[in-house]
Symmetry: C3
């Protein structure tokens, strides 16, 4: 990765990584499926706060994994458990996703999960990224992203996977799938999700250049649906949700599935190959070197 590109990344993320995560460089024990199942019933999520209002049928999910809501394996696991719980509760019809961290919605995939890790661990991580996308893109609930901060890479994917996107009209915030800037590649289902939202041409150029859009640019190309002042983002999301809740659930759900199923099926029927593809790519020496360069720039920036 050229320095110019790396600088552009850090500029795009400026202020997003004031502190590095405390677990910096430490490993994390693999969670066996059994333990995961047990966690489901008694987990006290710390990285994600969920408030469900039975009177409206709407849940608000607040991402609160300091400093920048990076999508680590822990975070993704908690996210999927929380989502599944809401999905199984038939009284929950709508979900608003927002951030409790200042200036950032989510900084995307946690690079520490991709750097210096074993292939097995990388595969486990990627499976969790897939799971997040599969569950959210196919959710029967109405999903609204209240994007109250920057949202690069995996953070942008999470927003794109919702039914509607409201972004804070703050010019310093950016959103986009900027993977190429780090020398890595958005996988086909990131690309499909973006193309379903902004079309083939905008996606082709944005992914090749790793474009990060300002809120007004994002609105213009259709990456987000609406801009509001940051302090009105939750109230706007709630009002928007009311409009969606007026639609009969069953008809809306079948319609949503009809629109998204072909895209979901492409990954669902190729999960193992996609994991293998990611692991082979990310464990390459050249890619690991790119990630190290990037991490060092972030460290210096912090110091």
């Amino acid at each position: 990765m050229s320095l110019g590109a790396a600088l552009r990344v850090t500029r795009g993320l400026s202020g997003l990584l004031p502190r590095l995560p405390p677990r910096w460089g430490h490993g994390r024990a693999c969670t066996p499926p059994l333990l995961l199942a047990q966690q489901r019933s008694n987990s006290t999520s710390t990285k994600i706060k969920v408030e469900f209002d039975p009177s409206s049928g709407v849940a608000v999910m607040r991402l609160q994994s300091p400093p920048v809501n990076s999508l680590s394996l822990d975070f993704l696991t908690e996210f999927c458990i929380s989502l599944e719980k809401l999905e199984m509760d038939k009284s929950c019809r709508g979900l608003i996703i927002t951030s409790n961290q200042p200036k950032v919605f989510s900084a995307g995939l946690d690079i520490l999960e991709m750097y210096g890790k074993s292939p097995e661990r990388c595969g486990e991580f990627w499976k969790a990224v897939q799971e997040m996308w599969l569950k959210l893109y196919s959710s029967d609930m109405i999903t609204i992203a209240a994007i109250n901060g920057s949202s690069p890479a995996g953070g942008c994917l999470m927003a794109l996977t919702c039914d509607y996107r409201i972004m804070a009209d703050q010019p310093r915030y950016t959103i986009g799938l900027n993977e190429t800037l780090l020398g890595i590649v958005a996988p086909f289902w990131f690309k499909d999700t973006m193309a379903n939202t902004v079309g083939h041409r905008t996606t082709e150029m944005a992914l090749q250049l790793g474009l990060l859009y300002s809120p007004s640019e994002a609105l213009k190309v259709g990456l987000v649906d609406q801009l509001v002042p940051e302090d009105q983002i939750l109230s706007t999301a709630t009002q928007t949700m009311t409009r969606w809740l007026a639609i009969p659930d069953h008809a809306r759900q079948i319609t949503k599935s009809m629109m998204r199923k072909p895209t979901i099926d492409r990954l669902a029927s190729n999960r193992e190959a996609d994991i293998q593809n990611f692991v082979n790519f990310i464990t390459k020496d050249s890619i690991q070197k790119s990630l190290r360069t990037y991490l060092e720039i972030l460290k210096k920036k912090k110091a």
Copy 2:
């Protein structure tokens, strides 16, 4: 279906259903194919008026089935017969479709054909809806919709199936695939036709919310191609037709087929499954209940 949604529907259709069809709730004998074939040669169409001008090679088809050009089985049968006659007449190169009813182009599928009917009858009806779309979307003629009134649901489909759409610039008129508002679902080929016109994202949101667009909104998203004052709609359609007639027919027809064949083939190779899918869905108790609620609201509105 929630009352809020039902009210939105009636608001969207305000003024569209001043009188209920006289056959309200009555059955209709099934037309066997043989009889249909005989009708073809000696039918005097009453629901559709066709004027063909041999000097220009252009036919104008006026929909005149009071009160709102609902797409009943009778109407669709007449429509397909008229279309096929024009298609077989090689001197007819262009077709303009417009309405002779005030304020409405077509109110879409006749709900009375879907409520309280036998599965066989529902299947026959759906086959006729398919036939209308297949014939019109693959027509060798240049087809222009002169949308001189509201055009919800199946009425919107009919317009989308043409080559070009001119709409009257009257803010009270609306157009869109609003099926979800009634608790029903636009089938995949309605969705494909809309996505081919306005793209995946606009379609996803419009179909989930059952959006009805004003003329200026419809122009903005590309659902229609041009707005003109209502009294200029036919003259504009005629002028536009002249421009299309300047293109060599053979090259234009091959080009049109290349653009549309993949979409047409998806239904053509799945007609029986699509009929079965519709019949199973529409005859469900919950869906019948939604339709009854909707019909009762229309009745009250009328009273």
Copy 3:
């Protein structure tokens, strides 16, 4: 083809064909593959001038086949050889394509290659057109079209096949796939390339009507990405290239391939059928007659 259509073509191409090619109506010996391979090593290209700057890693390819850079078999053969040489030179990362002829980028496929030729020769020609597209659309290099003149039909295809399009803001210039105006049909991969750029609906209407867009119209529908005064076109292309060069090559190339491979594979796996299809169509009496009419109009215009 109607006279009206023919006149529109000539209007669209006005000034593009001041002189007819000197080889008018003459045959050309078929180049066997062996000879082609020999040419590769010692050809001195006359129709295409390539300047490569090793310090920037950027090559500029100037089309200079008088009068209008028609895509003849000779031209296409030189183009592919030049492209392949640059592609194999790993120090060449970017390519700018522009014209050395006044007022025209490229007038598209050479009609003389399609009129009065044997089926074998037509097939050879079509294979070269395919080759140009396959090589350019899948190029690992960053490709920028600096469109400093009109660019109808095959000229538009060449521009669409690049990664980025900058057009001279000169209202007399036009760009578009206008094949139907000549009574011929853009093949599916022309259509796919355009749809990937401007979407299905714009493509459907543009191809049916053979639309030629002014620069500002082309920008509006997304056919080109940027307009600049004609004298700034190369400097703008160079600045744009710098931005693209900042992206790590490997990640950008994989991303580009992910976006374009499905489209490329459709032709790559159907080349022979596509050639046969073209030959059958173009050698029809009716099509040959259309081409003759068109050529006669051009001749008269010249006289």
